[in-house]
């Protein structure tokens, strides 16, 4: 029996060696597999960029969310969220005159309608920035902006006729197709005025997020790049941020 015990002890030791080698090898292969998977899921953002580029030339971003969602769904990812992250108050790039106005300051105080991303508008206040940071893309996509913010901006722009504001909000809510010029006409704003540079129908920054391979949440932020410094026409969308989180 002694010999059997000794043999079992040796067998255990050998098993331990095997386990340590096997776990080490399996750890390394898991790390490699995870890195590969992260690259693969981040690559799906290319599909989002292609789709956004196709929507770039359209007058308004009314169908963009649905189009991008459908394209990503076809790419095999799930739980897709496409959101406008620039149609809000951007303290970094908005003109001080507008930020200091009581209604906008009130919204800021309550931390409402704040946007993380956005461009500087070269008509409104470019703050020394150069193209493409400063460009002519309107600061808001009125379809995506909160109605409180639209009302506040209309008051800053001294649109006194409340019925016009309500009509605009109704049209936006009903997803009625309009372009920037039609909005300005409705609000009786001059195209060259500073406040006119706020009202548009194109989104400057889109955030796309989705769940992939059952365990990754991927985020990508795309910025609209205009054709030239004097143009509000979007030439392409450029990926400026991307991230893949592992879900627990």
């Amino acid at each position: 029996m002694k010999a059997v015990f000794v043999a079992l002890a040796v067998a255990l030791a050998a098993y331990g060696v095997f386990l340590s080698v096997a776990s080490s090898r399996s750890f390394c292969s898991r790390v490699r597999a995870e890195e590969e998977a992260v690259r693969k899921v981040l690559g799906v953002l290319e599909e989002a960029k292609r789709t956004l580029d196709m929507c770039a030339s359209m007058d308004c971003d009314l169908d963009t969310v649905e189009t991008v969602t459908a394209a990503l769904f076809a790419a095999g990812v799930e739980d897709i969220v496409v959101e406008d992250v620039s149609s809000g108050i951007n303290e970094m790039f908005w003109p001080e005159k507008v930020l200091d106005s009581p209604r906008i300051a009130g919204l800021l105080e309550k931390d409402e309608c704040v946007a993380e991303y956005g461009w500087a508008n070269s008509i409104a206040d470019f703050r020394g920035r150069e193209y493409p940071i400063a460009n002519r893309i309107p600061l808001l996509n009125v379809y995506e902006a909160e109605s409180d913010l639209t009302r506040a901006l209309c008051s800053v722009a001294q649109v006194k006729d409340e019925s016009k504001i309500e009509l605009l909000l109704k049209k936006m809510e009903g997803r009625e197709r309009m372009d920037a010029k039609e909005i300005l006409k409705l609000l009786s704003l001059k195209e060259a005025s500073m406040l006119a540079s706020f009202f548009g129908t194109k989104t400057a920054f889109w955030r796309v997020s989705f769940k992939a391979l059952g365990r990754y949440r991927v985020y990508g932020v795309f910025a609209a790049i205009p054709e030239n410094p004097e143009s509000a026409v979007v030439r392409e969308y450029r990926l400026v941020e991307r991230r893949a989180d592992v879900l627990r």
Partner: protein, 151 residues
């Protein structure tokens, strides 16, 4: 027929209620020992021939995988805001990496790279304690300034 039994201590006899072990048991023990020996020999020959290399290899593989993944994650999480000066932001990031290291790795150098598709990346050379080689990792950052894309 009388069974021949080989010796076993008194306490063991009491414990196992046994008088030793039979010829078959002896054969079984020898067989297990042989199997274990073969397994150990196979393990050694499969993994670099000796235990020193085996354990060193295991340690190296683990350390490499851990540090590689940790550095890659740090780089992936590094976001240069789209409006800012990438060189300045990168300089701060490089200094913090070189000063603090990552997961036991000592960062020797860290450089910014702009790829053909316009995305920025970081290339780091680093060493690990107990490993003589200089290791390299290259990964794309989480965000980059729009202005620098066209370089």
């Amino acid at each position: 027929m009388k069974t021949t039994r080989f010796g076993l201590s008194g306490s063991m006899k009491t414990l196992l209620n046994d008088d030793g072990f039979t010829f078959v048991e002896t054969l079984l023990a020898v067989a297990i020992s042989l199997v274990v020996s073969v397994a150990v020999c196979l393990a050694y020959s499969a993994f670099w021939g000796n235990s020193k290399n085996l354990f060193k290899g295991c340690y190296k593989a683990n350390a490499l995988a851990k540090s590689d993944m940790a550095i890659r994650r740090r780089i992936r999480e590094f976001v240069v805001p789209y409006w800012s000066n990438g060189e300045m932001e990168f300089a701060e990031f490089r200094d913090s990496l070189m000063e603090c290291g990552v997961e036991g790795a000592t960062i020797l150098s860290c450089s910014l790279k702009i790829y053909g598709d316009g995305w920025a990346g970081v290339r780091c050379l680093y060493t690990l304690p107990g490993i003589d080689e200089t290791l390299c990792v290259e990964e794309r950052v989480g965000g980059f300034p729009v202005l620098e894309e066209r370089r």
